[in-house]
Symmetry: C2
Subunit: 459 residues, 2 copies
């Protein structure tokens, strides 16, 4: 280990290679609830793509595991380093290189955070629409996890927004993919292949992302329903209406009570409504025109009432913002409430009612609690799992994932597989697909240095 | 060759293995202007995914080249078979398996054509929005070329619409990717990797694609401008307006004259306007509300007039449809006018004025003519190249592609690289990227049987 460390120090400067006591505890973990923290052999903080490429070349030569780290807000343990490996932290590569107002794109280094980008684009009346719950997340981390969030139902996920990448390969080469181009048919789409690959194929050193005009008018509607089943049945109807909501979330009553309580949110919902509502639908509409927004909000209200909403609340700006924020913090609320794991299966939107019925039954059978909310418009169901016994929980999770796949779904809609779910992924995915993914992994990373315990668990 | 042919006959039925005289001439070509027709050793017409997989297994065993064919409307020669190989024609796999109105998706076999799907979705008030100029094209071909077309500026290209695939691998396995899912973060995105791979990685045996509500109201605006430069400068402004046009095309005066002439289209544009206009902008807007459409059309008119439009024509329904159709047929018009090649570079939208200036200069230097139109909102410039001398034309094309790449563009926005442009692609793409693509190709296709002369020209 000493020889490569000396070479690394020479490469990036000794002050940017941290070992032993100098490794701060946060480098040892992300926010996954079930993956134990462990420090890497060394933290390296490169300044540019050339340095990243050299680090990878060296790591390949010495067969040292390498884990990339953005902001460490991931929920799958994919940024937890290997104890004998390097953690490449992108904290110094944190510049917005360009806001191109003509082509509506931003070019950013991977360490740029979502809140940093939001501030910069707002100044131009533009918006980068991906909005996972944690705005301290980095764009590099977003690309690697294919981050989603509440606005995906209108704008799509990270995959939809990233037009080009610069990436360093384990072979020590730097490639550029795509560009300020909304489309192309010029060879394999390496951009899309790297997106969502959880740091196992290449390290992202720059990203070109789409921007959109920031619509000035917004309205937020909260509708309580008698049952989760009812609320879930409403979702395809709202999508079909053509109202094109920006947010379309369901929140079960327990989660609603918990997030409004912890965030001290007073929404003015009478007790009798609260008592009869087992679930809520949260819808955000926007428009370039105030009058169209009013009209759309009214149409939405009529639609929801017709479909069984117990009541309707058009939330004023401040309350709406707070409720959206509280929903974004649902993870912390669940964690504080003692949730043992948080998962985010994705299923065909219209099967949510069925899936929720099945989860309740699976939970009951295992003497566990499973509660949640979800990006309903995307079929992305977030569940907090309460079951302290690791073995029981494993069996339960496996059944929850299996049930999702039986409905045509997958294990994760946006959090990724990481370390936390690699075992279930490998057990439940068809062997031909896993074998193909392993061959693709080898095409990028012949020595298997990049995040070897993540996703495919390369030998 | 006889042994594998006998095995094929056993597999799919002798009547579905065509050789010699029984091979109709159209199996030997697609619509590329520069790739010579040549028949394959045999045409095979499988009935289902299992048969496709068995054909591939056999071909891998015998190292026989395999080319997939949809409708043969491709413009890059990627469906032109190898003379010693098999042409797998998907004509029998042409069923729409499902129109799922709850999840807003269609599940189709690869031989389904765009017009077939359009008819089926219209019955449900839904639309599959990808609309390349040739509606006889198959969905399998669309997936393999990542087809675009005029509506991509609003809806995105094929890549945006395909949520899942079933595909047969050269190893003889059948895999399923994605599903009725608008997002996922569960392993490498094989769907996206196969899209645009021009039949070189896997054969698509089924696709799950997104559907959208079909907006009832449309208006079409045609605006003449004094110069191509002027019209190209208007494009980013229309995109920034938030009007979200469905179509945003530029058409140069020569192309306009040619397409209106061949299609016998009378748009009522006075001679003096025609004489002063070197280029036209064609914009289609749509809406769920007639009054909003009127308002938007007015706003668009004001915007275009303010930016120098010589005049404005809001086309009545029939004329609008005819003009859009005529534009779709621009390829046939150019071919009839004697164009020697048609290319479709993609560049950052805002660089179109500069690119068009450069192309004029390159054309002049080579004593050639280069004229065109384009999916301007996407930065996708379609150029008809008039230069009969093959060597001069090669030098000219190389410069046109190089100029695109210098502006941050790529060789093809939607037609693909195929056989026609493989040479330029390999010359102009950075070697590390080509080498990585070759390793990915090998991960799918170890013996290099799939379309070996296309894109990467595997040895
Ligand atoms: C309260 C809370 C709410 C959340 N809500 C959402 C939500 O709604 N939707 C959602 O999608 N996610 C959500 N997340 C998860 C998290 O924010 C996202 O996964 C985010 O994309 C992680 O970004 P990061 O910079 O923190 O990445 P990290 O945690 O640092 O890393 C995540 C993965 O990316 C890799 N990586 C990081 N940088 C690079 C790089 N430059 N090149 C290659 N690989 C790299 C890492 O190796 C790891 O595999 C939430 C998290 C929290 C704590
Ligand atoms: C008049 C005209 C206008 C056009 N306008 C446009 C336009 O605006 N935008 C646009 O994008 N294109 C356009 N095209 C090109 C063409 O229509 C598209 O490329 C279309 O996607 C080809 O579909 P196809 O079924 O004809 O494919 P084919 O020509 O049969 O094949 C094209 C490629 O797909 C592969 N392929 C076919 N089926 C499969 C399968 N099942 N699995 C794997 N690979 C397969 C073939 O091997 C080949 O590589 C136009 C063509 C014409 C003639």
């Amino acid at each position: 280990m000493n020889r490569p460390l000396a070479a690394l120090a020479e490469l990036v400067g000794a002050e940017h290679v941290l070992t032993g006591e100098r490794i701060a505890p946060e480098y040892g973990h992300d926010e996954a609830l079930t993956v134990a923290a462990r420090p890497p052999a060394a933290v390296v903080r490169p300044a540019d793509a050339a340095e990243v490429a050299q680090i990878l070349r060296l790591a390949t030569e010495h067969r040292m595991p390498v884990t990339a780290r953005g902001s460490g807000s991931g929920l799958s343990g994919a940024a937890v380093p290997h104890p004998d490996g390097l953690l490449v932290s992108f904290e110094r590569m944190n510049r917005i290189l360009e806001i191109d107002t003509e082509n509506h794109v931003a070019v950013v280094q991977p360490g740029v955070t979502l809140s940093q980008l939001d501030e910069a684009t707002a100044a131009h009346g533009l918006v980068y629409p991906v909005s996972p719950g944690e705005l301290s997340a980095s764009l590099g981390g977003n690309v690697a996890t294919n981050a989603g969030g509440m606005r995906a139902v209108r704008y799509g996920v990270t995959r939809t927004q990233v037009l080009g990448l610069e990436a360093a390969l384990p072979t020590g080469e730097v490639i550029r993919t795509g560009g300020k181009l909304t489309k192309s048919s010029s060879g394999y789409d390496l951009t899309q292949l790297i997106i969502g690959s959880e740091g196992t194929l290449a390290l992202v050193t720059e990203a070109t992302v789409r921007l959109y005009p920031r619509p000035p008018h917004q309205s937020t509607v909260l509708a309580p329903f008698r049952t989760v089943d009812e609320v879930a049945r409403v979702v395809p109807k709202v999508v079909a209406s053509g109202l094109a909501p920006v947010i379309l979330e369901y929140i079960d009553a327990f989660t609603m009570a918990a997030i409004t309580h912890t965030q001290q949110l007073e929404l003015g919902i009478p007790a009798e409504v609260r008592d009869s509502a087992q679930a809520y639908l949260l819808v955000l509409l926007d428009s370039r025109h105030a009058d169209r927004l009013d009209e759309d909000t009214e149409q939405l209200g009529e639609l929801l009432t017709g479909l069984g909403a117990v009541d309707l609340y058009v939330l004023p700006g401040a309350a709406a913002r707070k409720l959206v924020e509280a929903r974004e913090k649902a993870f912390w609320t669940a964690k504080a409430a003692g949730a043992n794991d948080i998962i985010d299966v994705v299923i065909p939107r219209a099967t949510i009612p069925e899936y929720i019925r099945i989860t309740a039954e699976i939970a009951k059978r295992h003497g566990s609690h499973v509660l949640g909310c979800g990006h309903a418009g995307d079929g992305n169901v977030h569940l907090a799992v309460f079951q302290a016994d690791g073995e029981v929980r494993s069996a339960l999770l496996r059944e929850l994932f299996e049930a999702s796949m039986k409905l045509g779904g997958l294990i994760s809609g946006e959090h990724g597989i990481g370390r936390a779910k690699a075992r279930y992924f490998l057990e439940l995915t068809d062997p031909a697909t896993v074998a193909l993914m392993r061959r693709i992994k080898a095409a990028f990373d012949p020595e298997g240095i990049l995040n070897p315990d993540v996703l495919l668990r390369s030998p």
